[in-house]
Amino acid sequence: MNWQTLHTYWQKLDLPNRPILAACIILGMFTLAGTGSVGVVHFLTENRIAHIERETLMEAITTLAPPHLFDNDLLADVVWIKSPLLGSDSAQPVYRGRLGGQPAIAVFSPVAPDGYNGAIRLLVAIHADGRLAGVRVLAHKETPGLGDPIDSSRSDWIKQFAGLSLDHPAASRWRVRKDGGDFDQFTGATITPRAVVKAVHQTLQYFAEERSRVFMTAQSQEDNQP
């Protein structure tokens, strides 16, 4: 059937609402073309975007966990952990770095749910002995100029966590100064640093309680299945 016969067929049809039907068909064709082109572009860019996101994540991780600390494929050695201490209802990835098969470093991606403008996504790297290798902010929506000094591109505030651990400083000092702790708040913004300090502290608590589970390999996980 060619276009001409289709057109004559259409003309012969006895339809009361021909213009409305025509409008519907045209709208439908645009919907198909629009979603189709988005689909095609998505298909063409999907792999590249996934690759870039992986590289960006790896870059962020290597600023916290220098490559000499581990010799495995850290991004592939991942375990998904769900815990209220990590600030989310859904399982969060934990990347494990091992040196000569021995646990070396764990990179958590906890969420600080109580930021001023919603959740703050963090990257928290902890050495196997419980010392913090470092903390970075992955994504946040804090007020520019007020809460955004938590971002390492805006200030060095987040770098002070490196080297700290669960009992250094003592549990009562894991707070912003305004609450009697050791960490500076920002002028005009207490809620943001308070949320970050709390999230880092809770991640350390989780690590202390579940260290063996964090570094568990796929093999030992299977062994522990009931």
């Binding site: 213009p19 409008a23 975007i49 870039i52």
Partner: protein, 219 residues
């Protein structure tokens, strides 16, 4: 040689877009993204440029299809076209200009909410040939960018005492030194300017200034 007559409509389009019918200052369209990201000059420039690109492409496409769509369904079709363009731009930028995407990424979904874009599609592009529609998109976008950058610079200077901070996000590492401190060393910053109320007050002042200039021209 381009004659005066062929150029005349384009000059009018340029003047309308940049001044007489400025989308932000006269039509008051696109206020949601305008007020949300105009806290620094660089953020403003980023959103402005992304909006301009979208406007040029959507105006061009709408003008090309304008004679083939029934008027009853033209608005949903414009919305479809604009949403598809913005999503495609977002995906392409993420894949090929990732550095720029990490800066502008949050603004791009905001562009869909900018009613200036569907406004130009309906008011201009659907009634004019492609070349003029594209020129209209370009100048309306530049006018919007101009208003945004003025507002962003104003808020940044009053709010933090300096301007052009973090220019490296848009212009690469060479721009790291562009930041200029315009206020005295001990200036503490006036936070209200950076917060949302500062955007409304600032925009009001800029509109007042524009009306003042227009008034002088008339008398």
């Amino acid at each position: 040689m381009i004659s005066r007559e062929t150029l005349a409509p384009y000059i009018k389009i340029a003047c309308d877009g940049l001044w007489h019918n400025n989308q932000a200052l006269v039509a008051l369209l696109g206020l949601c993204p305008l007020l949300a990201v105009s806290n620094t000059a660089i953020n403003s420039l980023g959103l402005g440029l992304a909006t301009t690109v979208t406007l040029v492409i959507s105006n061009g496409l709408v003008s090309v299809i304008r004679e083939h769509i029934p008027s009853e369904v033209r608005l949903p079709i414009f919305v479809l076209v604009i949403a598809s363009i913005v999503t495609v731009i977002e995906l392409l930028m993420n894949a090929y200009f990732h550095g720029l995407f990490t800066v502008l990424g949050i603004f791009i979904p905001l562009i869909v909410t900018n009613c200036a874009i569907i406004g130009r599609a309906e008011a201009f592009a659907s009634r004019h040939p492609p070349a003029r529609a594209i020129a209209d998109g370009l100048f309306m976008g530049l006018g919007f960018t101009l208003a945004l950058v003025v507002l962003g610079s104003l808020r940044e200077i009053i709010g933090t005492g300096s301007v052009l901070s973090h220019a490296e996000l848009l212009f690469g590492d060479g721009a790291r030194t562009w930041q200029m401190t315009l206020m005295p060393e001990d200036y503490q910053g006036f936070l209200l300017a950076i917060l949302p109320p500062g955007a409304f007050i600032g925009l009001g002042l800029i509109i007042a200034l524009k009306n003042l200039v227009d008034g002088w021209q008339k008398s």
